[in-house]
């Protein structure tokens, strides 16, 4: 299939976050990570568990297969069989994430949502981040408020920041000091451009190109999961 869009590449990059997850609760926040999780379940990860964003676990056919109100989500967080893909107003070199406030927390220049579940997620189970607009304002040297815990603040036995998927690239923390590393750039994006849109120097030794969706993935995405192409409005090509 031709005319693969940037959004579709982002969706498959998000799907790949769940590789090997098995019977794990996938908690994707936002459209692109949600499409990625659904796509993973329909292809390589049929055992993934997915919620409707309210209180039910749904099969790919939208049949209720489980009940998961917030109190039980918190149990899964503590139990650990969960991979959350959160948004981030800021994410920094060591994977700290901020969704709380910009500026001084006592009197923010911009109040955001609050800590939400980020502190608990990041010390209990695998966490990834989705950044729809990769820019120096989002990819910052140091976050203003540590909501999600990065590697330089890591504590406890279960801290695991997996990857950051953006509209430009895939990044991880697989370096000796766990600073952010450029894994792959999306087709048509240069390493220089990603670096220019990032406020700190990225490790960039063996950068590859983010893979293209397979024909099967494109078909599922375009005909089953997102026939109205909402994905292309979130990430313009």
């Amino acid at each position: 299939m031709s005319d693969i869009t940037r959004a579709e590449i982002c969706v498959t990059a998000c799907a790949d976050l769940f590789a090997g997850a098995g019977e794990t609760l996938a908690s994707p926040m936002g459209l692109i990570p949600s499409l990625g999780a659904k796509l993973a379940r329909l292809t390589t990860e049929p055992d993934l568990l997915l919620s409707d964003g309210e209180a039910f676990l749904l099969t790919p056919e939208s049949t209720v297969e489980g009940w998961l109100p917030y109190r039980k989500v918190f149990d899964v967080v503590a139990h650990g069989r969960r991979h959350v893909v959160m948004g981030a107003n800021q994410v920094d070199r060591f994977g700290n994430q901020n969704i709380s406030a910009i500026g001084d927390h006592a009197r923010p220049t911009r109040q955001l949502l609050g800590f939400r579940g980020a502190p608990g997620n990041t010390v209990n189970h695998r966490t990834s981040y989705w950044v729809p607009r990769h820019s120096p304002r989002v990819l910052v040297e140091t976050v203003d408020v540590v909501s999600g815990v990065g590697y330089d603040h890591a504590v406890g036995p279960f801290h695991d920041i997996h990857r950051v998927v953006t509209n430009l690239a895939v990044l991880d923390f697989n370096t000796p000091d766990h600073s952010m590393r450029l894994v792959s750039t999306h087709p048509g994006v240069s390493v220089d451009e990603v670096q220019k849109q990032t406020s700190f120097p990225l490790a960039a030794a063996d950068v590859t190109e983010t893979r293209l969706p397979t024909d099967e993935e494109l078909k599922l995405l375009r005909t089953v999961l997102d026939p109205d192409s909402k994905r292309d409005r979130e990430v313009p090509s």
Partner: protein, 265 residues
């Protein structure tokens, strides 16, 4: 058995300046808005509000009722940010204890169980502890020796919750998909008030939906539509149009007085 029926104004009449008030629901879902509006009609001030925050926070902040807010987030769900909450925070207008959502639940549970604290891993390494230096950690007394957050009990003077059905004695039922934490709010509080869509003689549906029993409730208020404009499924979904009007007015101080008057009318 006692008849605990009362009006919304009677339910909030026992609240005094400076008290700690827990508000059930979640975000813009099943908020006890009729009881919140009853607070707005009083001269109460300096309240500490404990909530998984939605428009309850914005309205109480707008009316100058809040000295301190204890929360994990404030959001209107379909509208990410509450403009009133943003405004008071960006003006430094209230004290806050901003928690992880799980820490919040753990604090309510500690209060419900009459414990000084309960351990939880959430919070470690994050700035929750930096901005709340009163929170302490505790070391496991067992061989693992792990350090954990000692989440203190979030004790409430008053809990306000809204459910779908209740009887006059204070047994109450949720019919939507999620109980949220309304039972914990009631167990954590000295005085507990439930508003409901309808007071019934007997309950239909599975007994597992009877979230509150009469030991947990001091007053019952029949308030049809009493969660609006937040959702109270299956009785009604969120009134998105009214919520948009709220958010627009909250973002524009010239529009606000007119909207506020209409909302309370």
């Amino acid at each position: 058995m006692r008849d605990k029926r009362m009006t919304a104004d009677e339910a909030v009449a026992g609240i005094k300046d400076g008290m700690t008030v827990g508000i059930g629901g979640w975000g813009s879902r099943r908020k006890p808005m009729a009881l919140v509006k009853a607070i707005l009609r009083t001269d109460l001030k300096d309240l500490t509000i404990v909530t998984y925050g939605g428009p309850d926070v914005g309205l109480l902040c707008a009316a100058g009722k809040v000295r301190k807010l204890v929360y994990g987030f404030v959001s209107l769900d379909t509208i990410p940010y509450d403009p009133w909450f943003k405004r008071v925070r960006e003006a430094g207008g209230i004290d806050v204890l901003e928690l992880d959502e799980g820490m919040f639940q753990t604090g309510l549970r500690a209060a419900a169980h009459r414990l000084p604290f309960l351990p939880i891993r959430a919070g470690l390494g994050s700035d929750v502890l930096k901005y709340a230096p009163e929170l302490r950690t505790v070391r496991s007394p067992y061989d693992d020796g792990e350090e954990l957050v000692a989440m203190p009990a979030l004790k409430l003077d008053v809990a306000l919750v809204h459910l779908n059905r209740a009887d006059r004695h204070g047994n109450a039922q949720y019919l939507g998909p999620d109980p949220y934490f309304d039972d914990l709010f009631c167990l954590a509080a000295d005085r507990r008030y439930v508003s409901c869509e309808q007071i019934v003689e007997t309950f239909d549906g599975p007994p597992q939906t009877l979230l509150l029993n009469r030991m947990m409730v001091d007053g019952v208020v029949e308030a049809p539509g009493g969660a609006g404009f937040t959702s109270c499924v299956p009785d009604y979904p969120r009134d998105e149009k009214l919520q948009r009007e709220y958010a627009e007015a909250a973002g524009d101080l010239e529009k606000w007085p007119g909207f506020y008057e209409r909302l309370l009318a």
